[in-house]
């Protein structure tokens, strides 16, 4: 069938062997690719008895039917695993070039299971799979390793872990193409637990396209739409994502000092405007992306990609730090060590609050930018105070008797948007299947930016419908796998049309959104099977009980409980947050009950 690569490459690191077998195409139609296929395979392969850092956990790398076709942003890929940070289902996706190359190597899915006796790296050149000793590479940082293994954007692409993954930090990312990250939930620790340092791919196949004329037309239409949208043609390339800093601060929804405040007096100093004026070198883009939101920035010490808004916030406002060069350098250091910037920044902030309140014996203090780099190094190497922080804020705060000071949902640190000033965003965090995350759905468009229309950010009633539509749409885009920024200029309808043109399988827009709903419900079933219940759909007590004392969100706390009740009902789940038989039948998932 066109579009999909129809082969699964299944690697067993216990024996350093591999096999290939066909992708179940009926499953592919139902789950499309990326996050969807990853979740379906994980359901069968990793049950509740499996420790995420044991050889029995798997890494499932997936692409989608649009990947490498040349459709705008068709460069992305996913990894699915059981998260060592949260214990939930985890998918993380990334852009760059590796995903395109992986598809061109001829595979839809790469499964990595087991644990190598000694460190190894894997080289994939279409049907030739080689295992190489990685003893000499163990301990290397990401930038140097990527270069050593021959990164060449359009020909040979490197995916690897840094020291953080080797040391099993539950905040470790998997990095690709030097500075792209499968960041959240600790997939780098899973890779480290398998003694797998890197996967290098070279591919030469071109994906087949069923209806080439229709595809060419849609490519042209999409290009026009992205060029016509001020968001994708001007806002993202000109200002980057950090431009959100000032608006979030202005409306009183910028979490500050471990969510103790909702406005940061130093926001202007770490804003997108400041970054552009003083540190921006140039823009860059992923493969087949006309948007080009990536910012290359430079200080006296480093030059590299980023930092994005969330990284700047986590290492900045959340830690009370307004020193932009130090934040840029800390972001680059996280990339080089293979760490998730959001979880790292928020965990440092948690440690700063624990220390200031006398619960943790350390000298970490809010506002101390000089402490960023040393503590990040210590986290990656599991040394000194870093050994306390390296498994994330929830484990840290729990160990010192104050789990309420972890600003996380299901154990994953939340992003910048404070739910007290954004009611829908709070519901999103609480119900996200991988924990506190803004990429499983994001209400900022609706609640702040007016995309596609502005709704009252403090309103509670009726919010669940918006949240659910957003979550389903995001799960569908993650299954295609495309960049969500494309969706700012191009409606879901176009994605359904291009999917139909590429595969020859006719998807209406409603079919595509139904794919997203199917994926969301399957992930929920997975978490339920792992023992997660409605009581886990919650937020830190601070956000439910402590209202900001000033600013535009003054007096507000998250009104989670009524929103959750409405959410379960609207989802077709029972009052305990479990999908009903009727809903699972409708989605073709009833056989999984």
């Amino acid at each position: 069938m066109s579009g999909w690569s129809e082969t699964i490459l299944d690697i067993d690191l216990n024996t350093l062997t591999y096999k290939t077998y066909p992708l179940d195409m009926e499953m592919a139609r139902q789950f499309v690719g990326g996050r969807g296929i990853g979740a379906r395979l994980l359901w069968d392969m990793v049950g509740p008895a499996v420790d995420p850092l044991s050889p029995e956990n798997v890494l499932i790398f997936t692409n989608g039917p649009l990947t490498a076709t040349g459709y705008q942003t068709s460069n992305r890929f996913s990894v699915t695993t059981k998260s060592p940070l949260t214990g939930t289902v985890l998918d993380a996706n990334s852009g760059g070039y590796w995903g395109m190359q992986f598809k061109k190597a001829g595979y839809a899915v790469l499964i990595v299971r087991g644990r190598a006796e000694k460190p190894v790296w894997i080289e994939i050149k279409n049907e030739v799979i080689a295992f190489h000793a990685a003893n000499e590479l163990w301990g290397m940082r990401v930038f140097a390793l990527t270069e050593k293994l021959g990164q060449n954007n359009n020909k040979r692409n490197v995916l690897c872990i840094g020291p953080a993954g080797e040391n099993l930090s539950r905040m470790a990312s998997i990095m690709n193409d030097r500075e792209r990250a499968l960041a959240r939930g600790g997939p780098g620790a899973v890779m480290g637990s398998k003694n797998l340092k890197a996967i290098v791919v070279e591919g030469r196949e071109r994906p087949e396209i069923e209806d080439k004329e229709r595809f060419k037309f849609l490519l042209y239409e999409t290009r026009k739409l992205l060029a016509a949208s001020p968001l994708t043609s001007q806002a993202l390339p000109e200002f980057g994502t950090v431009v959100l800093m000032n608006i979030m601060n202005n409306i009183g929804a910028l979490a500050t000092r471990n969510h103790q405040q909702t406005q940061f007096e130093g926001a202007e100093a770490i804003s997108g405007e400041e970054l552009t004026e003083k540190y921006l070198v140039k823009n860059a883009s992923c493969w087949a992306c006309p948007i080009g939101c990536t910012r290359i920035s430079k200080t006296e010490k480093v030059e590299g990609e980023g930092p994005e808004f969330e990284s700047t916030w986590a290492l900045g406002a959340q830690c009370g730090i307004d020193d932009l060069p130090a934040i840029i350098e800390a972001n680059a250091l996280c990339n080089d060590l293979g760490l998730d910037t959001i979880s790292v920044g928020s965990t440092i902030a948690c440690a700063m609050e624990l220390s200031e309140k006398g619960y943790l014996d350390s000298d970490l203090r809010f506002g101390r930018s000089d402490q960023l780099a040393p503590v990040i190094e210590a986290i990656a190497c599991r040394q000194d105070v870093g050994a306390e922080l390296t498994d994330g804020s929830f484990r840290l705060a729990t160990k010192y008797g104050h789990p309420e000071l972890s600003m996380s949902a299901k154990g994953m640190e939340m992003p910048a948007y404070d739910p007290r000033g954004l009611q829908g965003q709070g519901l999103l965090y609480a119900t996200s299947n991988r924990g506190g995350c803004h990429m499983r759905g994001n209400m900022i468009g609706l609640e702040v930016l007016g995309l596609p229309k502005l709704i009252d950010r403090f309103q509670v009633q009726g919010k669940s419908s918006f949240v659910i539509l957003n979550q389903n749409s995001n799960a569908a885009i993650d299954s295609l796998v495309l960049c969500k920024f494309t969706n700012m200029g191009v409606a879901d309808e176009y994605f359904a049309r291009v999917l139909s043109a590429v595969t020859g399988v006719q998807y209406a827009t409603t079919d595509l959104i139904k794919v997203g709903e199917r994926v969301w419900n399957l992930e929920r079933l997975y978490n339920n099977r792992e023992g997660f219940t409605a009581k886990d759909d919650t937020l830190p007590p601070r956000l439910l009980t402590e209202a900001p004392v000033d600013g535009p969100s003054k007096g507000w706390v998250s009104q989670l409980e009524p929103m959750l009740k409405e959410y379960y009902r609207t989802r077709g789940w029972n009052e305990n947050g479990v999908p009903t038989r009727q809903k699972l039948t409708e989605l073709g998932l009833v056989n999984l009950m």
Binding site: A235, N246, E273, E308, G450
Partner: protein, 85 residues
Amino acid sequence: MPVVKLFANLRKLAETKEVSVSGATVGAVLNELVERSPALDGIILENGELRPHVLVTLNGHTTNDLSLQVAEQDEIAIFPPIAGG
């Protein structure tokens, strides 16, 4: 007099980050601003309405109601189309 704060490329166009502008409503303030900074003409307003995706907040509360009353101590913030995540 209400204070208007400008962000992103609006700063360069108006050659200022912040300016005091008189006006009894959000619309009146914005019109006065455009009159004083002609480079903003067609950037924030179009045919008397806010241009698509231009974001205006009054004391930190997003609004697209140009008839909203403005007091002396109020603060209006204006953002060009922005996006991110």
